[in-house]
């Protein structure tokens, strides 16, 4: 297990280097020049030129990347071009929000997807299965932001049950936190729930036809023991993998959901930073997101190893 973790951590290093270099190169193609804005609205052309120089926008990207990397290796992710706040501080402020949102969305996916998938698998091709499959297909097809806007309109604007914007940290007021996070989590987690339900149905159906389950049933084990202890555990492997890939997708989808619900998370910061060409912030977000995804995948592998000792040797 320790070897697995160590290997993965080492493998993450070239990945991070590659991703950040790529982002650095891409920023060349973002049109516009933040110096025009940063220099102030009454600035002269010379002042804009000085600003450009001060912020190093004139240097070619490999030079800028090397400088950034040198600082980053010492733990300094630089400062935002616009707010002059340290990037690490911005991330520390925004990341918990996005993590809370994505983890709640994952939780929603699990809470809805697993019962739905199980029910479908136990009733193959009968009406519960058809309903689940129908809703799941819809869930995958519907764009999350559309669902989000719909939820906002119905539950927040018309029924007035939830706020339409903002965020309260969990430790400050758990109930208020829930009111802020529930709708966006549902909107964000719905496609993931659909994916989980479909995958679990398929994998349960495969499992249910296997000999060891027939043996277990023949042994006289109770039905929920057969399902819960044997079938579900066996079928859960693919689900863990699905959840890990969903985590990466959710981080991406959070960008739009955060915008729709005006939640001050990393996605909202990412959008404005890209548009404004605030490269240090974009780099910081990429680094943290990559780390989150690497860690999630690692966690998935560890869980899979625990669920199915066979895969541990691989």
């Amino acid at each position: 297990m320790a070897a697995l973790i160590g290997r993965r951590m080492l493998a993450a290093i070239p990945l991070l280097l590659f991703v950040t270099a790529l982002v650095s190169a891409f920023t060349v193609f973002i049109p516009g020049d933040p110096a025009v804005y940063v220099a102030g609205e009454n600035a002269t052309v010379e002042q804009i030129e000085q600003t450009r120089e001060r912020l190093g926008f004139d240097d070619p990207w490999p030079v800028r990347y090397a400088e950034w990397l040198g600082q980053a290796l010492q733990g300094n992710l630089g400062e935002s071009v616009f707010s002059a706040s340290p990037v690490s501080e911005l991330l520390a402020e925004r990341m918990p929000v996005t993590l809370a949102l994505t983890l709640s969305a994952l939780l929603f996916a699990v809470l809805v997807g697993i019962p739905a998938g199980t029910i479908a698998a136990l009733n193959p091709d009968r009406w519960p299965d058809k309903v689940v499959r129908g809703i799941a297909t819809l869930g995958i097809a519907l764009p999350g932001y559309w669902l989000g806007l719909l939820l906002l309109l119905v539950f927040a604007v018309y029924l007035g049950l939830f706020p339409t914007l903002g965020y309260t940290p969990l430790h400050q007021d758990p109930l208020d936190w829930l009111r802020h996070i529930l709708l966006p989590s549902v909107a964000l987690g719905a496609p993931a729930a659909a994916e989980v339900a479909r995958q679990l149905r398929r994998s349960m159906l495969d499992t249910l036809n296997q000999d060891f389950l027939r043996t277990a049933t023949a042994k006289g084990l109770r039905r929920h023991t057969v399902l819960g202890k044997h079938a579900l555990k066996h079928a859960a492997g693919p689900i863990v993998t699905v959840l890990a890939t969903q985590m990466a997708l959710l981080l991406g989808a959070a960008v739009i959901i955060e915008k729709a619900f005006t939640i001050p998370g990393i996605g909202e910061l990412a959008v404005s930073s890209v548009i404004n060409k605030d490269v240090p912030v974009v780099q910081g977000i990429v680094v943290v997101s990559t780390v989150v995804i690497v860690v999630t995948n690692l966690a998935a592998d560890i869980t899979n190893a625990w669920l199915s000792p066979k895969s541990q040797s691989q």
């Binding site: 025009v36 940063v38 339409t164």
Partner: protein, 510 residues
């Protein structure tokens, strides 16, 4: 009404100054008459733009004033009508033929960290604003060569040349006074002497303000707490208002009707911001005043306002709104009446071929694209073929790189007409795409900047506005109304002519 309020503020100010030595018992009876305001209320406002930094001297745009000014008083303030009123300076006058600006400072003011506000603090602030790394206001303050401390409450700015815009400049971020003890940390932890202090702040999203109990004008901060958030989408701001997440906001024209039908008050008034089809007058044909006049006649401003703004705007041909001192009555709003026939005649006179192409630079966002498309179809009526090129950074593309022939964009307005004219219509003007102008406009602008007498100045500003319009240096389109929407609990909120809301006197009923 507004004048009355100004007089009232000035009177209260004088009273407070007089009473400040006798200590702080409440004056009583003065304010509480019209509505019972809740002194412990929280006022929640959603702004349209994110705030990047709370350091006033590095903050690049006047849009940030909304967030900065509750914390930082300026040397001179603007009234809701955009006239100069006392701020931290109670009096200011040009001496030595206008090469010195002498200011008398308000006494007994301290910053919220208890650092006293005095002439030394003014000197430190001006020098910081001129030199701090990333200063976004040093250009505006470049005219100040040195700051001289005369005594504790008298300070003199020695100027490189006469610059009558300077008092207006000092109403902005350039004139914002911060505690010299806190200069290094203003971006995150602002320390000013304003009517509020910042209790918490998240860059780009939100800030919480708490009343400064020691503020010199006790009528200014009526709510104990103010919470500002950024919501960039107008419909989301409307939803937040409807669900009671906020008490007030600014709405796009399209959402005003819905807010009114949900029983919110919407105050819609023109501000100094306007939309214009800017012309690069160095381009072939556009260097001919007849062609520029033709384009002015080709635009149906009424239909732009009714189609794009649902009527919530004022059609205009000059760069200053009606009722503002720089507005020229004779030119009025109808100098270039919609007249496609006249436009065709002028184009024919200037020998512009039928179907001549004009490249329009467009800021890639729905509102600008709609406007560009509307202009394109109106120009087609008079035989001009507008081709739209998209950009994500209009200023860079059109002003710096010099792309395109014309572009429809908004001008956010400046406290002084000489600033607007200087930036848009002089050779040095950053926002003048051609960096060319007519000699008449250049002369009038120079004269305006060099004139310190108020009456003469106002006349010159009007003449300048008329000249810009006569020379058709621009195609001014309309002044969109600022639509300030709020719940029935909010008192004292109204649009500010500057276009940047200040929340003086804004409170909430129980």
């Amino acid at each position: 009404m507004k004048l009355w309020r100004y007089v009232a503020v000035a009177t209260v100010t004088a009273l407070v100054a007089a009473c400040s030595s006798t200590g702080g018992s409440t004056s009583g009876g003065g304010g509480g008459g019209e509505n019972e305001l809740d002194p412990n209320a929280t006022f929640r406002f959603a702004d349209t733009l994110p705030i990047d930094t709370l350091d006033p001297h590095t903050s690049p745009g006047a849009g940030n004033n909304v967030w900065l000014f509750p914390v930082y008083d300026r040397l001179i303030h603007l009234s809701p009508d955009a006239e100069l009123v006392p701020g931290l300076a109670t009096n200011w006058e040009f001496t030595d033929d206008g090469t010195t600006l002498a200011l008398t400072l308000r006494e007994g003011v301290t910053f919220s960290d208890d650092t006293p506000f005095d002439a030394e603090a003014v000197k430190a602030n001006i020098e910081r604003a001129q030199t701090v790394e990333g200063s976004a206001v040093k250009g505006e303050l470049a005219v100040i060569e040195s700051v001289e401390v005369v005594d504790d409450y008298q300070v003199e700015f020695n100027l490189a040349n006469v610059n009558s815009s300077l008092p207006y400049v000092l109403t902005g971020r350039a004139g914002a006074m911060a505690s010299p003890e806190a200069f290094d940390s203003l971006a995150q932890e602002p320390v000013g002497s304003g009517m509020y202090t910042v209790a918490s702040y998240q860059p780009g999203t939100s800030a919480t303000y708490e009343r400064n109990e020691d503020y010199w004008d006790p009528e200014a901060a009526q709510a104990a707490t103010m919470e500002f958030t950024t919501v960039t989408d107008s419909l989301q701001r409307l939803n937040a208002l409807k669900t009671g997440s906020i008490d007030a906001t600014i709405l796009s024209a399209k959402d005003v009707e819905a807010a009114k039908s949900a029983d919110f008050t919407v105050a819609s008034e023109p501000v100094l911001e306007f939309y214009h089809l800017q012309l690069n007058i160095s381009r072939p044909y556009l260097d001919d005043v007849r062609v520029r006049k033709a384009i002015n006649h080709a635009i149906d401003r009424e239909s732009l306002v009714s189609g794009l703004l649902f009527g919530l705007g004022a059609p205009a041909v000059q760069p200053f709104p009606q009722d503002y001192f720089a507005y020229d009555e004779e030119i009025g709003t109808d100098h270039y009446a919609y007249d496609p026939e006249r436009a065709r005649e002028l184009l024919a006179e200037a020998e512009v071929p039928e179907g001549q192409t004009i490249e329009l630079i467009n800021q890639n966002a729905p509102s600008y694209t709609q406007l560009s498309e509307a202009i394109k179809s109106q120009l087609a009526e008079v035989g001009l073929n507008a081709e739209i090129t998209q950009t994500t950074n209009f200023a860079n593309s059109f002003y710096v790189e010099g792309n395109g022939d014309a572009g429809a964009i908004n001008w956010t307005g400046r406290p002084d007409p000489a600033q607007t004219a200087g930036l848009l219509y002089t050779e040095e003007g950053f926002a003048n795409p051609a960096k060319e102008t007519t000699s008449e406009v250049a002369d009038l602008h120079q004269e305006l900047v060099a004139t310190i007498d108020d009456d003469e100045r106002e006349q010159l500003a009007r003449d300048l506005s008329a000249q810009i319009t006569e020379d058709a240096l621009d195609v001014v389109l309309y002044f969109p109304f600022q639509n300030v929407a709020y719940s029935d609990k909010v008192q004292g909120l109204e649009p500010w002519l500057s276009g940047k809301l200040e929340f003086r006197g804004v409170g909430m009923t129980q």
